[in-house]
Symmetry: C2
Subunit: 202 residues, 2 copies
């Protein structure tokens, strides 16, 4: 039985620790691969093409947009960032579950394009805690931190659109919860139909 993988979208406000969660789940579940984004910005020192990003020039990126070759894309600071459809499809067909760590707006686009995807919203335990984390890790001014906290409050309103909401209170527990969700989704009945068909015939 060859299973097609699931597309797992992990999103949430800045400062909730989704990057750390993604790093840890990739270490703990061999069947997971991360979706590498495409970008038109130049590689930074140490960044590898195909590992950190797929580095493309603007013409090639625009051709991908025109050919509907991206699941989603956005423009920041005069550069494009996007999720190449072919790379994701190849991994899914290979049976891997593909992790897409993405901001809230991008996640919305993925849900529209891929209704079969599994979306997980990573929430902070409280807004005070989120603010404290942003302050801890940042060299930004209070004003910038205020802006980010306000942005997080707006993004929280999107949490209801996701399939699951996890709370990053204790990291280890949260990582286990995300791994549970990813594993449980493999056993959803509609994803097991080919197995049951096989079983009924033998």
């Amino acid at each position: 039985m060859k299973r097609k993988g699931n597309l797992i979208v992990i999103s949430g406000p800045s400062g909730t620790g989704k990057g750390t969660i993604v790093k840890q789940i990739l270490e703990k579940d061999d069947n997971l691969v991360i979706s590498v984004s495409a970008t038109t910005r130049s590689p930074r020192t140490g960044e590898q093409n195909g590992k950190d990003y797929h580095f493309l020039n603007k013409d090639d990126f625009k051709t991908m947009i025109e050919n509907d070759g991206l699941l989603e894309y956005a423009e920041y600071c005069d550069n494009f960032y996007g999720t190449p459809k072919s790379v994701v499809e190849k991994a899914l067909n290979n049976g891997n579950d593909v992790i897409l760590e993405i901001e809230v707006q991008g996640a919305q686009k993925i849900r529209e394009k891929c209704p079969d995807s599994v979306s997980i919203f990573v929430a902070p335990p409280s807004m005070q805690e989120l603010r404290a984390r942003l302050k801890n890790r940042s060299t930004e001014s209070d004003e910038v931190i205020d802006k980010r906290t306000a942005q997080a409050a707006v993004e929280l309103k999107c949490a209801g659109d996701y399939n699951y909401i996890v709370i990053n209170d204790r990291l280890e527990k949260c990582v286990q919860d995300v791994l549970s969700i990813i594993n449980a989704e493999r056993y959803k009945t509609d994803r097991m139909s080919s197995f049951i068909k096989e079983l009924s015939q033998n």
Copy 2:
């Protein structure tokens, strides 16, 4: 935040090992409790009232049926067996997830009465393997084993009605998969709505 528990229905053909799975998940997840059935049959040696079964006389059982006090019930060999609603509700309101190990027909009734329940079908890796297991554990004749295998084939057709299908190939893996499902269901968005509401207000 006081979470209401989930009702988890675990079912599948005879011989798939669901009893062993249930025993192990109860040991590994403190938040789980098992639903104890009510019956009109007499206690066997060593059986405790309220632990193995709630032992009732026929009049009391019939009163429960009349008062809609059972989630499902059935009659076997001139005795009644059923799932008392009040016991399940109390545990759910206490925040426990309640495990109901039940045969395929009973599971169908629970799904109708409790559309919020989570149903897991335990499938054998193959029909040959199921037959071998029934043969191994049983002192029954080949004829009885044929009957049970045929019954299992009929019950497999109901697998598509469940939320999840797990395969009991390696017991340890299967136990982990069921625990994943039970944990993942706690983070379904509609079950997290009160948390998000709280978070938005603070």
